[in-house]
Symmetry: C2
Subunit: 478 residues, 2 copies
């Protein structure tokens, strides 16, 4: 234990000095991810993929509890199909990858790799939906998608990424709207209760909404550099796609009507989010509910009789209680192990040595606050469970306090301009595209959303002075 402070992690840039470099150091050095030979594409390494698997488990359960089922649709979309919804193709065509050859043969029509699946899924819904009895149709897909990005960063923006996309069809606009909001709420609750990330819920501007949507709702989180990350979106597509792809149903009154559809998605980008919200200068700080290892057991003075056996006994006890646990009995020094598992963000470290065994106790150290607890063996399992919950709450509260401290209300453009350097700004806005573009050019900030929780700050737009439409969040973003 003497080595603890000597071997402090020095190869990760400090957050305050260079946040982007800190992020890159953390994701590479903790084996979350690696760059690949394919430009803009990442490899999600086992430790990072372990986080994704836990995210998938938690989300998938929520989707099923709200009546959705999973299915799988083709990766490749014919160009003519993509083009049927005008706004949609305009939005996505510049960034799709095109398949032109199968083996040695040139294809008669080129196929794009799905950037999102509205077009292919709507073409199937048109076939599957005949009557009001087929509605609502509530399907989710876990899949990879490709968007040809120029500037990429692992998890945050890559040419290929993994995600889930929900696609639903309904009899009325109101039902589609209710679904859109319901799934945004699932995302919000998931971000809070699983990722320990507080998010702002609201509606995107016309400029920022999904290509082809009537309305896009979003959850937005603040990273530790004060920038915003869009963590998930939910779209009310009205009857736009139903009209373009001919999705009709026979109503109870015997009339042929167009459906109303929705789509909603979240991706591996959330992993980038949880790293940038919770991490510190020593590395990752993983929220316990998605930590592949929740507790690491470090046997101290391993060569002494009974130490390894006790570590294995504790492992078995905690594992059978459903805790994700690992024993590090490698031949590295204790100091190296402390730093290693701290860097990897394991929520709780457990130390057990000859003296602890004698006293029927162990030492627990929490990753987020570095607090130490001496815990009697007999209450260990309950204590660990409670501690994991405490760490979750504490991470959430810390992130919320951080966001609140870095959010200002602006009534002048100067205040807005200053505020978006390192934080969020709430200000009244006219809703006009030209005004939005001008604000972005002058400040580098975009509209993040018009939040559901509105405050009346003034009657006029913070930038152009025209009548204000809504209080809006502005921020620089990923």
């Amino acid at each position: 234990m003497a080595k603890r402070n000597e071997e402090f992690v020095t190869h990760i840039a400090s957050r305050s000095y260079d946040f982007p470099q800190w992020y890159t150091d953390v994701i590479l050095k903790t084996d979350m991810v690696d760059y690949s030979i394919v430009k803009g594409c990442m490899v999600i390494k086992p430790y990072g993929y372990g986080v994704w698997e836990l995210i998938q488990d938690e989300m998938d359960r929520r989707f099923k509890e709200t009546g959705h089922v999973n299915a799988y649709f083709p990766l490749l979309i014919p160009e003519s199909l993509l083009k049927k919804e005008a706004e949609h193709v305009e939005g996505f065509a510049p960034e799709v990858a095109w398949v032109t050859h199968g083996g040695d043969e040139e294809l008669t029509e080129r196929l794009c790799i799905r950037p999102t699946s509205e077009t292919i899924i709507c073409s199937m819904y048109s076939k599957w939906i005949q009557s009001y009895r087929d509605l609502p149709l509530l399907i989710n897909q876990w899949a990879n998608v490709v968007r040809w990005e120029k500037n990429t960063r692992p998890f945050l923006r890559t040419s290929e990424f993994l995600w889930q996309e929900g696609h639903t069809a309904h009899a009325t606009f109101e039902e589609a709207e209710a679904e859109t909001q319901r799934m945004l709420e699932v995302y919000r609750e998931f971000a809070q209760n699983v990722l320990a990330i507080p998010v702002i819920c609201g509606r995107k501007s016309e400029k920022e909404k999904f290509a082809g949507a009537q309305a896009t709702y979003t959850i937005e989180a603040m990273m530790q550099d004060g920038k915003a990350l869009q963590m998930g979106t939910s779209h009310n597509l009205s009857d736009h796609f139903a009209k373009a792809y001919d999705i009709k149903y026979l109503s109870k009154d015997g009339k042929l009507e167009h459906c109303f559809t929705t789509s909603w998605g979240t991706s591996t980008r959330m992993i980038g989010g949880l790293i940038m919200v919770h991490g510190d200068d020593r590395g990752l700080v993983l929220p316990p509910r998605v930590a592949p290892i929740q507790l690491v057991i470090l046997p101290i003075a391993m060569h002494k009789a009974g130490v390894i056996e006790k570590a294995d006994e504790i492992y078995a006890q905690l594992k059978s209680a459903g805790i994700r646990v690992k024993v590090d009995d490698s031949d590295q020094t204790a100091g190296w192990k402390f730093n290693q598992w701290e860097m990897k963000g394991v929520p709780v470290r457990l130390e057990v040595g000859p003296k602890d065994i004698e006293n029927k106790q162990v030492v627990l150290v929490r990753r987020d606050t570095h607090e130490k607890y001496i815990v009697p063996m007999e209450t260990l399992t309950d204590t660990v469970k409670k501690l994991l919950d405490d760490i979750h709450e504490s991470l959430y509260n810390r992130a919320l306090a951080f966001r609140e401290a870095k959010t200002v209300d602006a009534t002048t453009f100067e205040e807005l301009k200053n505020g978006v350097n390192g934080g969020f700004v709430r200000a009244m806005w006219c809703g006009d595209r030209e005004c939005e573009d001008a604000i972005k050019e002058k400040t580098g900030a975009t509209t993040r959303c018009m939040p559901f929780e509105q405050k009346h700050l003034s009657d006029v737009c913070v930038h152009c002075g025209k009548p204000a439409k809504a209080m809006t969040y502005f921020a620089k973003s990923y």
Copy 2:
């Protein structure tokens, strides 16, 4: 219940009359799958995807129990990378889809959509593996792959399919061989204990092995038309890929050595297999351990007081015992429901009506044998659990008996030729490629494998009369 025989399913072709048509009817009419607008690509509908999710759960647990972790590698592979292993590129190049454009720009190097991931994964392993401490490296990936197929059939052969591919690296050939065999045994055990499918384990011929492998092992199953389906393969890649992709490690003795790698895969093709092994003229017969619905509750005389309530009570009771259960309280007739759920292959039907409630009992009907049981409410949960296990055993035994009845030992070419019409043939074979090609041309059958369980049938090859190398399975195949 009177309608039972009147409304017998008539829209599925009989297996004996037209097996391919029976297969197509079953998969489409039970909502397992649908054709898409994209040639050769299928949509896996929720009912079919539900089977895949259960397969994934069961396999993934086995992979983790044998020390493997999951990761995710890029979909797109640069042409130059694909070309590094000569046999591999020769095998796969004719059937890959090529991406040539990103947005409006032509790529400087074209990218193929992965037909399998040895090349991209080996390029990463070359970076990740430095020392003997990094070995063995045991990674699995769940992913989609694309192989440009001319003749496609849902689940069995499609241009895109879902699969898992394990990729491991080891210090010695022997360790790689042990891993290859270990994973084949995982597949065999899974096929038997989850899919209720008996399989033959053996080694592929040089012609049939994986492009680039030293040895390919396979599990082969017999469909009800007597044809073989390859259900999974496990490859010992020796140091072929390690040499092509420069995967080296520093040994304990301080020497730089090439690794030995393996790969092993199974896919959504297994779903086609379980349909063709267990199905009957009424439709699907799903093995209980991958049935999305294991038991369907049909309330009889639903309008009578207490019937729906009792159905819901039974639902809650069975669900809490971990049984996948559904209540069909739709307004269809009882006869329609019987046929519907029979066609969908639900292993057990539970009927409960006013008389049953009075007598504190229910009626259970098993899908595989149509046997009926009157079961007291108080023993219901245990009875259902036991019944599901019985059905599993019974399906396995029936499939095994079928395979044994349709397998012959041939010592003359005439016997081989007759035997492969509707069954498997065991015969001695010389192992030569030319002989193998000639047998295929004359009989339509291929070598399936040289099984681990050998019998000495004669000293000479059944076809060419040269000295025999091994007893070999011959069959027509999917």
